[in-house]
Symmetry: C2
């Protein structure tokens, strides 16, 4: 607290990210990182960016990266906005497109950064409860609103929403921007990108932190009608002319272009997830059906927090949220097959010792 | 314009950065970049960061970099805030520390991003005219205010303010945050950092884009009392948990640690600036006394815009601002000795042809 702080700073409740332990001796299944390395072509591109050209400012518009994303998704570059991780992209979206008189709607169980952005920009919002199966029911969003946002697949549940439902939502809310946060879409969900040319109120957000294994590089993007993109550009150009440095732009571009590697590691993660789900069910867990690179599970006889602490004693970190409705669940990132086996072995031992 | 835009987006007047030409055949003296490459140790560190560890999120607090900056300036890490270029750091400062009931004060001729930030965050501000010598007169700031900010040396004039004047300003404004934007301090100015432990209202901002030749990497930082830093952390943690990726943090840390290389290139730029100033004066220019890596000059007989266009025809880009009081000046970045000679030769030819 300080007399020098603006009123806003006093009122903020900042987001708390998952732990990044400084010890290397941990199996890290807590922040939904990819267990496989980035594309070798991406690493090579970052190497090549580390040259004397770094003395110069980067392209403020990151045209190279926008063109690659546009090509990947058969869109035009003017339908793409890029930023310093999808968190920055989301921040600009909240300020530019989701602040209106009517409240913003998002699920009660969802990415916990959303209410933080609302606090940062003074946006009125309303939580819409997931149904009893932890699913988004689009009928619940049929009310006055200044925008709608949710992850698809949702986090931390992992449950996906069908494209047909998203299309109905877009039709029912022609005056609102509907933001589909597709951080985890590449692990089995169906992207809303093909709807972009039909619905001027659709904005799709993606990140390179998960499926492209580049959490340490910080690149995310949004796709939608050029009018929506223009709003984001106006905010970005009033905040930071150059959000992406050359290593980020060049590494991200190479990662987007290396589709073969990307599809391969996504397929491996999906296969490990399906095996992990069965193994957890054999241990008595209830596992929500996941289309993401994590599973969300609870055990009818054991408290999630107790299990998380016991796993940590065995050098395995998973994520536990203290929020209502989900405080007995664990969110477990899908690791390599070897990490997954070691996790299941530890968990089996822990549960046996508690029986 | 779009029905989906927030009210704010309609009202913004974004910043327009200097041109980054895509052609390589230009002598680029328009955006105050360093003519020398980054420290080889910095490039090596970025190479080393391009490894499989990029699959993991970076340290959200960039502790490694904060410790290096703290060590360099004999401060504590809790007195350091780091961000994605000093533009992002400044944006957070405006939102966190400069929005109060009384207007923010800054010079009429100054970094033209300041009024843009005010627009982004709804901050009331008042321009204080530089005196007739284009200097900041601290007596002009002796009025009710919600904060004071200016670059030192000032941009685009290059004129520095004495440390004694900054100290009087801090004493005269104990209830306001005074931000000294030291983007160009390493080219001959006197830093206000030694005042930080005495004045809890002082915040000093620096960047690695100029004196460390890392404009393409995007790293900046602020230094001040831990209460001020805490306000910035609260905003950052409500905006983007991880503003700096691993290549940025590691490259910046190595650059800060390589003091020998840094001092050498700064000395070379200062020497070239002094020679350039004399050469411009010989051509009849009035050159403001610069402590930066650029000079600000006007010719009594030739229009700045005409000269800039003629230089461009010769593949040399300098910056011209259309603002009042300075629209007949050129801002010329100090290049290498060879670039500087070529610039003077071109300018000599242009002026001869106009005589």
């Amino acid at each position: 607290m300080s007399q020098y702080w603006s009123k806003l700073v006093h009122s903020l409740t900042p987001y708390v990210p998952g732990e990044q332990p400084k010890s290397k001796n941990m199996i890290k299944l807590n922040t939904n990182e990819n267990p496989y390395p980035p594309s070798p072509k991406s690493l090579q591109a970052i190497h090549e960016a580390a040259n004397e050209g770094l003395r110069l400012y980067p392209d403020p518009n990151s045209d190279l990266l926008k063109q690659s994303i546009a090509h990947y998704y058969t869109l035009e570059a003017k339908q793409i906005f890029v930023g310093n991780g999808s968190d920055e992209v989301l921040a600009h979206i909240f300020q530019a497109l989701l602040k209106h008189d009517a409240p913003l709607l998002f699920p009660d169980i969802s990415y916990s950064f959303y209410p933080v952005y609302c606090g940062l920009y003074g946006i009125d919002y309303k939580n819409i409860p997931l149904n009893n199966n932890f699913e988004i029911d689009i009928n619940d969003y049929n009310q006055a609103n200044g925008g709608i946002i949710f992850p698809n697949p949702n986090a931390p549940t992992g449950i996906g929403l069908a494209l047909e439902s998203i299309e109905i939502l877009l039709q029912q809310n022609p005056s609102s921007v509907v933001v589909i946060d597709e951080a985890y879409i590449d692990f089995g969900g169906v992207s809303a990108v093909p709807l972009i040319n039909t619905y001027p109120n659709l904005l799709v957000v993606q990140t390179l932190s998960k499926s492209r294994s580049l959490a340490g590089l910080r690149v995310g993007f949004a796709m939608g009608h050029p009018d929506l993109i223009q709003a984001l550009v106006r905010v970005k150009d009033s905040f930071n002319s150059y959000p992406l440095g050359k290593p980020a732009t060049q590494g991200a571009t190479a990662a987007i272009n290396d589709k073969t590697y990307f599809l391969d590691i996504c397929a491996r993660i999906i296969a490990t997830r399906e095996k992990l789900t069965l193994q957890l069910e054999e241990l008595g867990f209830e596992v929500l059906p996941s289309q993401a690179n994590f599973v969300f599970a609870q055990h009818p006889k054991h408290r999630a927090l107790t299990l998380a602490q016991a796993l940590r004693d065995n050098h395995i970190i998973v994520r536990h949220f203290k929020a209502a409705r989900i405080d007995n669940y664990l969110r477990i990132t899908v690791g390599t097959d070897a990490e997954s086996e070691q996790f299941i072995q530890s968990l089996t031992d822990i549960i046996s010792s508690m029986a």
